[in-house]
Structures are given as structure tokens and as C-alpha cells.
Symmetry: C2
Subunit: 176 residues, 2 copies
């Protein structure tokens, strides 16, 4: 018997879930204000979810996107979510990806990226996206990954501000 | 009683270990031809080691550098290997980092990066470093991470060629 999968049929519904994950992560004090999820593009079914777990897991790579992607790969039993015969998957992230998560996307097999808040919105509360490629959207598109930005951006910004106003820990890269 | 730690006092000794890890990973058919290790910069002590485990772990992020860094963070009990009061650490990698591993470095707290083979050497056997920042060394240096390249490069290339001649699986990002 197949498990029942929550489905989200619009990009906005899917983003609301990613934003809700970010908010829950703040409320439960489990990590930074970032949430992400992987969806089956044909059905809208939720495949996996992730929140930022950097501090709690003592792992600087435990960004929401990395957790969501690796969980989806575990579930599908493949390192390549873009392999032949596998459904197409999209990653929905409450904020645009940092340099690392951007770099992880082409290896993951993810076909489409949906972002809420922009890099500058995360920077406005003190986070830093790291040394991301200056033409990151074009670089993803060159590799067959389409990108949609500003989906529910204002609600995504609200969550970042909520974290900031609750004195959430801001950790960053060395600035030299 | 402290565990005995293997120590490597020169960059070349440290690189030989990373290259040996890459070779063992090929010989044992456990993954791609890449090895990495984290060392305490003051003592030369080995802190952690990593090999590419992408296929075996069904995880596209399981690059040698990511395994070595996350293992070092687990061992030290912190997401920030560059935190105050923590020794300085360097990452030694048998090949230059891909776009993702490059992006992971500033978050990791690693202070120094030592590379063997160049991106073009990995490309020569069919691997791809992904959409890495065009000025990646400068970007790391801006964030306080010094970079040393071409350490034992010819031996690092030998291992890549050994993999290629043994028909090791070459997996890559979508090319669009």
C-alpha cells in the first residue's frame, strides 16, 4: 500500500511549505531560518523536506537544501535525481541558495529550482550567501536547471525578520 | 589516554595520504578517484579523512572533501573549524574542489586548502568541476582561506588516469 503523499499543485503552495518549515525551525529553536523541499514535478507530491541544522548537527553543510536533496536521493535510492526513468524533481527553497547549495544542484539531478527570499534579503539580517558565481542563474540554466525566483518573496522575508527579531544566531563564513 | 594520531609534517606528505586514499577508493571499488583529509596545521596531525562515496551512498554530495570536513566537524564537536579557541585546520584534496566543495569551504572554518590535480586534469578523464566561481582562489583568499595548488600534481594525475584506465564510472552534472 502506497503511503499518502501531501501534494502541492502550485509553486506558491510548495513555497508556503518551505517557508513553514523555516518558521518551525525557528519556533523549535532547531536551527537557522531556512526551509526547503523536493517535489515530484509531474504530480506535485512532496518527496522530502529539509531545514537548516548547521548548529544542532555540528555540520556546516547541513543547509536546508542539502538536507532536502540528500533525503530525496536516499528515498529514490540514487545519487542522480535526473537519471533516465526517474521522475523530474524540483527543489523549493525559502531563500536563494548559497554558494555551496548552488554548486550542489548540478550534481543532484534536480531539474527546477524555486526560490522565495533573495540573497539580499538574507544579507539584510546578517547572513551571507558566500562566494556564489556572479551568473548563478545562467550557470544553472546552462546545465538544464530552470530557475524561478521571488515566489512568495514577502512571506519569505517575514520569516527571516522573525528570526532576526528573536535574536537567532547569525553564523557566517570568515570574512578574512 | 589520547589516541595516537598519524602526523604528516610537509604538504607533500599530507598530499601523499590524500592521493593514497583516492587510489584505495579505486582499488576497493568504493567510489570515484578522489581523496581528501583534514590536518591540524600546528602539529600536522591527521584529524579526518574522506573519499568520494557518491555512488555507494546514493548521495551526490558525498565528495571526498565534504566527507573529510564533516568528519572533522563531528570530531571537534563544532560546525565551525575556524572558531576561536580551536586549532587551525587545513584541507588537503587530491584534486581541486568542484563548485560545491569550493562553496562549502567558507562555511567550514578551514583555514588553508592544498590541492593536487587541477580541474583540467579531472576534466581530461571526463569529470567536470561544475559551475565554479571564475576567481575561486581569490574568493577563498578574501575570506581568509589560503590556497596552495599543484602539490604532487603528477602523482595526483596518475591516480585519475588509473581510474580512467580501469573504466571507472564517470558521472557528471546535466549538461543541458
Amino acid at each position: 500500500m502506497a503511503e499518502e503523499q501531501p501534494s502541492c499543485h502550485t509553486a506558491e503552495e510548495r513555497m508556503q511549505l518551505a517557508i513553514r518549515l523555516a518558521r518551525l525551525n525557528i519556533e523549535h529553536r532547531t536551527g537557522g531560518p531556512f526551509g526547503a523541499a523536493v517535489f515530484n514535478m509531474a504530480t506535485g507530491d512532496l518527496v522530502s523536506a529539509g531545514v537548516n541544522l548547521v548548529v544542532r548537527s555540528s555540520c556546516s553543510m547541513a543547509h536546508a537544501e542539502m538536507i532536502a536533496i540528500s533525503s530525496a536521493q536516499q528515498k529514490m535510492g540514487t545519487f542522480d535525481l535526473g537519471a533516465a526513468g526517474v521522475p523530474h524533481f524540483e527543489l523549493v527553497s525559502s531563500s536563494e541558495p548559497c554558494a555551496m547549495c548552488f554548486g550542489a544542484l548540478p550534481w543532484s539531478g534536480i531539474r527546477h529550482l524555486v526560490c522565495g527570499a533573495r540573497d539580499e534579503d538574507a544579507r539584510a539580517i546578517g547572513f551571507d550567501e558566500g562566494p556564489k558565481h556572479p551568473h548563478w542563474i545562467k550557470e544553472l540554466e546552462k546545465r538544464g536547471i530552470s530557475v524561478e525566483i521571488d515566489v512568495c518573496r514577502s512571506r519569505a522575508i517575514e520569516v527571516l525578520r522573525y528570526y532576526s527579531s528573536h535574536e537567532g544566531l547569525i553564523y557566517n563564513a570568515r570574512q578574512g
